[in-house]
């Protein structure tokens, strides 16, 4: 019993009881099924009631039947209830323990699972890693294979192209061969035909030469027989020709060689002089080196100058020259490189800058002068002169030509005028002559006739005719005068105004109307004669001529010519 009470005390833990011992009890409640605890201080004789109520509460909260009923009776407990309660509690406890065991088992299981899962996950991670690496490796391989494929495709393309080219070559060669074959076949056929023709042909035309007389050789010599001597001579001549050719070539090469040698020597001397002149600028330690080299250079120089001729033919000397040049060149190169790093090129730069400035100034002045020339001329004369200066020569020539043309024209005009005048004069004279003839005939006739009153034909007529012809001439020349006023005329009639007489006078003078009735018939006959003489069917034109104040020179020409 004390044990159970102890246990009860242990179990009941409520807030109403003293907490420290209860806490103790709750903490030690777990391994309860193993241990049997010693007495607890839950229930004492003093707090039995409270304990009872507390335990009742607890039990009822656990869902069990209350062990203590408030019946107000004595502190006698229902033993059956208590035992039942205790049995229930023990069952509960056992159940709890069992569930705890199960849970522990499960926990173990789950932890085992967890471990297992962890293991598998690490394993899978490793596998994943491995497969990733494999994948990259495969990708790399694929890329390389792609490259290879591309290069192989390129090769294939090249090969195809080459094959194509070779095929083209083959095709062209084949066509060439075919062409040649056809040509040969054609020739062969022609040959066969010719052969047939020759076999059939009875009379064969022989070869022959037909020369009037033999002509001498071109060089005038007699032709020689073919003998061994001539053959030998030919051979000798051939070799002579070849040898002379080789000789000339060798001479040329020698000359070239000598020149090149000279150039190399000169180059070497220049390089040596350049290097030696730079010596003072060099620093101390370098000077020593160059000094040592300078000695050898001097030695070489002495050697070279004395044995120049030998050098041309001696292989060793040639090599020495080229080697020494190479050496000098290397030195010069290094020297130049050194110079570049130094600041000795500053003065060079300054000099160049100065030069540039000078050039710029020069260009500026030039520009200014050019501007001056182009923009404003100094004075009008020169401007007018310069304005067409490019064409001056041509213009002068043109002026000259115009002048000559003008002169020629004046000459021509003058001549034409002279000609017209001469023609007019001729016409006058002819007319006068005709007149005289007519008068003379008249005279004769009149003399012959018995009539005493033979009228002497008035000389005035011819005079008037002359006058009229003069006026006519003046009239014809007047238009010309009008046209060419500046040119002088040498006609007796002055003035540029056309000198037209009255129509009646004209008609009269032209013997178209009778002057007096007595002379009518004669006049008529004369008139007819004269008209026959004068007017060759151009009478109306003439009249028109006189009616118009203007006339063309061509017309006058026509008239003059008709006269």
């Amino acid at each position: 019993m004390p044990e159970s009470s102890l246990e009860d005390k242990d179990i009941c833990s409520s807030s109403e009881c003293r907490t420290p011992p209860l806490r103790q009890f709750s903490q030690s409640s777990l391994p309860l099924h193993r241990k049997s605890y010693m007495l607890s201080t839950f229930c004492t004789e003093q707090n039995v009631q409270e304990c009872q109520s507390h335990i009742n509460q607890e039990v009822s909260s656990l869902g069990l039947q209350p062990v203590w009923t408030e019946s107000g009776s004595s502190s006698e407990m229902n033993v059956v209830a208590v035992l039942n309660c205790m049995y229930d509690l023990i069952q509960m406890h056992r159940r709890g323990l069992r569930s705890l065991e199960n849970m522990e088992v499960e926990q173990l299981k789950s932890s085992g699972n967890v471990d297992y899962l962890q293991l598998t996950s690490t394993r899978l991670k490793e596998q994943l890693e491995l497969s990733k690496r494999e994948n990259t490796g495969l990708l790399e391989r694929e890329r390389q294979l792609q490259l290879k494929v591309k290069s192989l495709q390129n090769c294939l393309k090249n090969e195809k192209e080459e094959v194509q080219k070779l095929q083209n070559i083959i095709a062209s060669r084949a066509s060439q061969y075919n062409h040649e074959m056809k040509r040969k076949e054609r020739e062969f056929n022609k040959l066969k035909e010719r052969l047939n023709q020759l076999l059939i042909d009875k009379k064969e035309k022989k070869q022959a030469i037909d020369v009037l007389n033999n002509i001498g050789r071109a060089d005038g010599k007699r032709s020689l027989w073919k003998t061994e001597k001539t053959e030998a001579k030919h051979e000798a001549e051939m070799y002579k020709a070849l040898l002379s050719d080789y000789d000339t070539r060798q001479r040329e090469l020698l000359l070239e060689n000598a020149e090149l040698n000279k150039v190399l020597q000169q180059m070497k001397k220049d390089m040596v002089s350049i290097l030696s002149s730079k010596k003072p600028i060099l620093k101390g330690d370098k000077y020593q080196d160059d000094g040592a080299q300078a000695d050898s250079e001097d030695e070489e120089e002495v050697f070279d100058s004395s044995k120049e001729s030998v050098e041309l033919y001696c292989v060793h000397a040639r090599e020495k020259l080229t080697n020494s040049i190479r050496l000098q060149w290397r030195r010069l190169k290094s020297h130049v490189e050194r110079l570049d790093s130094q600041e000795t090129h500053k003065e060079e730069m300054d000099r160049l800058k100065l030069e540039i400035q000078q050039c710029k100034d020069f260009i500026q002045t030039q520009q200014q002068l050019l501007q001056q020339q182009l923009s404003s001329p100094c004075d009008e004369e020169t401007a007018s002169l310069l304005s067409d200066c490019y064409m001056l020569q041509e213009k002068e020539r043109l002026g000259d030509e115009w002048k000559t043309l003008e002169e020629q024209r004046t000459i021509f005009e003058r001549e034409r005028r002279n000609f017209t005048e001469a023609a007019i004069r001729l016409s006058h004279e002819r007319k006068a002559f005709e007149e005289d003839r007519a008068t003379w005939l008249k005279h004769q006739f009149l003399n012959l006739s018995p009539f005493p009153d033979s009228k002497k034909p008035p000389m005035s007529k011819s005079k008037s005719a002359f006058l009229i012809s003069e006026t006519k001439a003046s009239a014809t020349s007047a238009p010309e005068k009008l046209i060419r006023c500046p040119s002088g005329t040498n006609l007796p009639t002055p003035g540029c105004v056309p000198h037209t007489s009255s129509t009646a006078d004209l008609y009269r003078t032209l013997c178209l109307i009778p002057e007096n009735g007595a002379t009518k018939p004669k006049r008529k006959s004369d008139h007819a004669e004269e008209s026959g003489v004068f007017f060759n069917g151009k009478a109306p034109v003439r009249h028109k001529q006189w009616n118009d104040s203007e006339e063309h020179s061509s017309h006058t020409k026509e008239q003059n010519s008709s006269i």
Binding site: L166, N168, I169, A171, S172, R173, S175, Q176, Y177, N178, H179, E180, E187, K190, L191, R194, L198, D201, E204, K205, K206, Q207, A208, I209, D210, V211, L212, N213, N214, I215, G216, R217, A218, D219, S223, L224, K226, T230, E231, H234, E235, E237, M238, Y239, A241, L242, D245, R249, L253
Partner: protein
């Protein structure tokens, strides 16, 4: 520039005598000899048939007229007009005829290249040379006239025979390492003989006068090879034009290639001057179409042309040849050195309207002349570096280092310059022109003589 009148000629046979004093033209079966300075007719000879070939002897005293159809050759003397000579080849036929360098022997190549007959005018003697080869250039005389090289083919092998022209003595006879000999040429100094293979193989062999092989040159294999070979007048260079549109120049000391000239379709070279011919057709207004103008015809149909300088890059027109045909029109076919060996003029067949001028001193391109139509003929002045060329129209073109000029040849319209030849003095040019009558069916060729 003065132009003379047009004289008739046929078959493009019009040659100046080697001494430059006389001009011989053939019209059908007549041979007309004129004085060069006055162009008066000095002699007139009549041959038995239409003349196929005419040539002067080296001393300008004799002229040979060959009539291939009849197999006849007639020789005329300038000094003695009544002297006559007739060579009849008989039934064996005649393929070509030429003078020997001494002017006293005539070499006739019979039909089918059966043999070469050497006729002597001094002794009436005959000699025969067997197995001549039928190739591009099978015979060549050295410049001094001493030796003759002849290509032969026996038993499917090529040989070269060197004869002494004095008495036709066979000096050397050697086999060449060619598959199919295409041609041979003496160097101007007469000491080296260049021999090249046919176009199926690129091979150029150089033989010394005594028959030793000096050197072999082969630029590439398999493709079509050499098209043309030329020596420079100084014998220093040997220029080889090939089907790959390049010119390779060998030097006479090592016989190795010293440079290579290419003919690209785009010129980027800034140092070369590119001259392009530009044609200007005169604008014809309505009032110009008077009868006067049409009958004259010059203003309507003749186009003015001048040269313009094109800045690089310049595109050259290229004509692709038919790949199935033999002897394709591609590659450098014409090479010419100027007389001082300073310049080399080349023409590439698939750029037929372009002439390239190369400077041999700098080994670079000097000038490019692009014409409006295909270049027919070009030739250097024998005295100075001046190039004359013609393209089959009525113009003459001249290039010199100072510049380029296009000259209209004054004709009555319709004349086309077919070829040209310089006079040996370099003062005049002989232009061979042709004119096609619009109504007639025959083409009348007239030769045109021009003085510079």
């Amino acid at each position: 520039m003065n132009f003379s009148e047009v004289f008739k000629q046929s078959n493009q046979l019009c040659k100046v005598s080697p001494d430059g004093k006389y001009l011989a033209t053939c019209v059908q079966y007549r041979l007309v000899v004129r004085d060069m300075s006055t162009l008066q007719i000095l002699q007139l000879y009549t041959c038995l048939d239409q003349i196929s070939h005419m040539d002067w002897s080296s001393d300008s005293l004799f002229i040979l007229c060959a009539m291939y159809k009849r197999g006849l050759v007639q020789v005329w003397s300038l000094e003695q007009p009544d002297w006559h000579c007739k060579i009849d080849e008989g039934s064996i036929g005649l393929l070509s005829s030429r003078w020997s360098p001494d002017g006293r022997h005539i070499l006739n190549t019979t039909e089918f290249h059966l043999r070469i007959t050497v006729w002597s005018l001094c002794t009436k003697a005959v000699s025969y040379i067997k197995y001549p080869k039928a190739c591009q250039k099978g015979i060549d005389f050295s410049r001094d006239g001493c030796y003759m090289a002849l290509a032969e083919r026996r038993d499917c092998k090529d040989y070269v025979s060197v004869f002494v022209c004095d008495d036709w003595h066979l000096l050397r006879h050697f086999e060449t390492e060619t598959q199919d000999l295409g041609g041979l040429e003496w160097s101007p100094n007469g000491c080296v003989l260049a021999v090249w293979d046919s176009c199926l193989e690129y091979k150029v062999l150089l033989y010394s006068l005594d028959g030793r092989l000096l050197s072999t040159y082969s630029a590439y294999e398999w493709s079509l090879g050499v098209k043309t070979v030329t020596w420079s007048p100084s014998s220093q260079f040997l220029a080889i034009g090939s089907y790959d549109e390049k010119v390779r120049v060998l030097n006479h000391i090592t016989w190795k290639k010293i440079t290579q000239f290419e003919h690209p379709a785009t010129i980027n070279n800034t140092k070369a001057v590119v001259y392009k011919e530009v044609e200007r057709r005169p604008a014809v207004g309505a009032d110009d179409l008077s009868l006067h103008n049409i009958t004259i015809g010059t203003t309507l149909f003749n186009t003015q042309s001048k040269y313009e300088i094109c800045p690089p890059p310049v595109q050259i027109p290229v004509v692709k040849p038919d790949p199935d045909r033999a002897n394709p029109k591609i590659g450098v076919s014409t090479l010419a050195f100027s007389s001082d060996s300073r310049y080399l003029a080349t023409k590439n067949d698939n750029m037929a309207s372009v002439v390239w001028v190369w400077d041999m001193q700098n080994m670079s391109l000097e000038a490019v002349l692009e014409q409006c139509s295909a270049v027919r003929c070009f030739q250097w002045d024998p005295r100075r570096p001046r190039l004359a060329l013609c393209t089959g129209n009525s113009k003459l073109y001249l290039w010199s280092p100072a510049g380029c000029v296009s000259v209209e040849v004054p004709t009555e319209g319709g004349f086309q310059v077919q070829s040209l030849n310089w006079h040996c003095s370099g003062d005049s040019l002989i232009l061979l022109v042709s004119k096609y009558h619009l109504l007639g069916t025959k083409c009348v060729q007239k030769h045109y003589f021009k003085t510079l």
